[in-house]
Assembly symmetry: C2
């Protein structure tokens, strides 16, 4: 039987010798017999991963997310799991800049004024010259840094371990008081959970902006809510703990808070990059070469 690949899009270039089936995460899945390579539809809920158990010929699963911890228990022995590392970097970086600039340049105020047609003007904060702590310096952190450098911000890099030009996370207590903007780009791990709690927030200067585009668990939500409610700190969050943030949580309505519903990674810039990766992986698979982005 010709090896089959199950893809979320119908417009990919697929190498000769592979049969294609399409499943975008909605409706009834196609026949799963003979599927050797399964590209999971992105951000499509719990159903698509469940199909993995119904593919007896499966050799490889390609996720389009960077984080695949939730998939690991579902992958049978001998099946390769690859992830979407890098596909979302630019999308997340863009959204991070959108959050920072919205907060610094008072967009919530101007959008409010727009509702009443008010031309009231006032000078705002800026991004230029601000000291920005990038906590998490992987590929997303680097993409954010390119934006920040274009804007002449003063970037301080922090990663789990110190290296040339990058501070270690253990230096955070000394670094926090000098920063006016802190950007968190951290995965959810035992080491990152609650990293920014009441003492770390208290160390920040008045008016500092706390940005989170990694995982919500890095911040103690109650402690941050208190500081923002007091008017001492500002927050711009794409991720929170818990998610979704309950509709009646006080953080939603605080004037110093900007909240977007975990949408940093999901934008048009993702699709062409995801399709390029999948086409390259299919070519490798057809030639019997090792895949890239292998998790296990």
């Amino acid at each position: 039987m010709t090896p089959r690949v199950l893809l979320p899009w119908s417009d990919l270039t697929v190498p000769d010798g592979l049969d294609t089936a399409v499943y975008d995460g909605t409706g009834t899945p196609p026949d799963l017999d003979g599927v050797e390579f399964y590209v999971l539809p992105y951000d499509s809920g719990p159903e698509p991963p469940k199909l993995i158990a119904k593919m007896p010929s499966l050799k490889a699963v390609q996720s389009l997310s960077a984080g695949v911890d939730n998939l690991l228990p579902l992958i049978p022995d001998g099946v390769t799991l690859t992830n979407g590392r890098g596909l979302h970097d630019l999308s997340v970086a863009e959204h991070t800049l959108a959050l920072i600039l919205a907060a610094q340049r008072d967009l919530p105020r101007w959008f409010r004024q727009q509702r009443t047609g008010s031309w009231d003007r006032e000078h705002t904060r800026s991004l230029a010259d601000e000291r920005v702590l990038l906590v998490g310096y992987g590929s997303i952190g680097k993409a954010i840094e390119r934006y920040l450098e274009a804007g002449e911000a003063d970037v301080v890099r922090v990663a789990s371990t110190a290296r040339e030009g990058v501070h270690g996370i253990d230096e955070l207590p000394e670094l926090l008081p000098g920063a006016s903007i802190v950007v968190l780009i951290l995965p959810d791990t035992p080491a990152t959970r609650g990293l920014i709690s009441a003492p770390e927030l208290a160390a920040l200067e008045d008016g500092a902006l706390v940005v989170n585009v990694g995982r919500g668990t890095a911040i103690d939500t109650a402690a941050l809510t208190k500081e923002v409610a007091d008017g001492r700190l500002r927050a711009a969050l794409d991720v929170v703990d818990p998610e979704p943030l309950p509709a009646d949580h006080p953080l939603w309505q605080l004037p110093g808070a900007i909240i977007t519903p975990h949408v940093a990674g999901g934008s048009d810039s993702f699709h062409p990059r995801a399709k390029r990766l999948v086409e390259q992986q299919l070519a490798r698979f057809a030639r019997g070469e090792p895949l890239v982005n292998v998790v296990r």
Copy 2:
């Protein structure tokens, strides 16, 4: 009598041999006798320029704006006028990015959802890969370009005359159909007035975003309002024609329009840069050297 300088800030380093007076544009001005160098307070309305006529010893006027057309008739013969070219570049570039990213990443929607605590999610447009027409390629255009290149947008430069790597404004009809974002950074001159009117807007693809951070007169407001009301184009404007936009103008309330009240140039990044320029100009003035940024 010791030469006097009239400054908008009290915390500048002033060369020996110059007496300092301070006027920030509010309250009663100090004694104007003997003032040879006048730094106009920025964005402070019509009163400060009127003082020029009351300074018999005046030798130089420093404006902190880039555009000084309105001052020219007030400058006596023999008095040097210098402008604030470059001081606002980064501030305007930041705000331009804030407008573009707000539009591409649907910030108005998320801010609206924030009011009801709604976690509804949807994928958005992106900036990456978009073809951005930068119409006006001076120092502000270059500062915007640095941001756009960090975001992997596809930048097309347009200036009044073609040169290596830059299209001429006469090529606009051929360039508009291929662009998904058009950014106008143009002064108000007879050549720029109404540059973007109904035919130019009609040439843009469906869903294209029109951004204006130069002068409002470059766009025919009625024609743009019609295209945005039809849902065919989107707009993100810091300047409009007329200014202020009347509170009952329909453009304010269109879902595809973002409007800020001419605040792109006024942010914290301006002040340190303005103070550096003024200190350098004072040093030149004290040494009898020519000033920079001379308009006439």
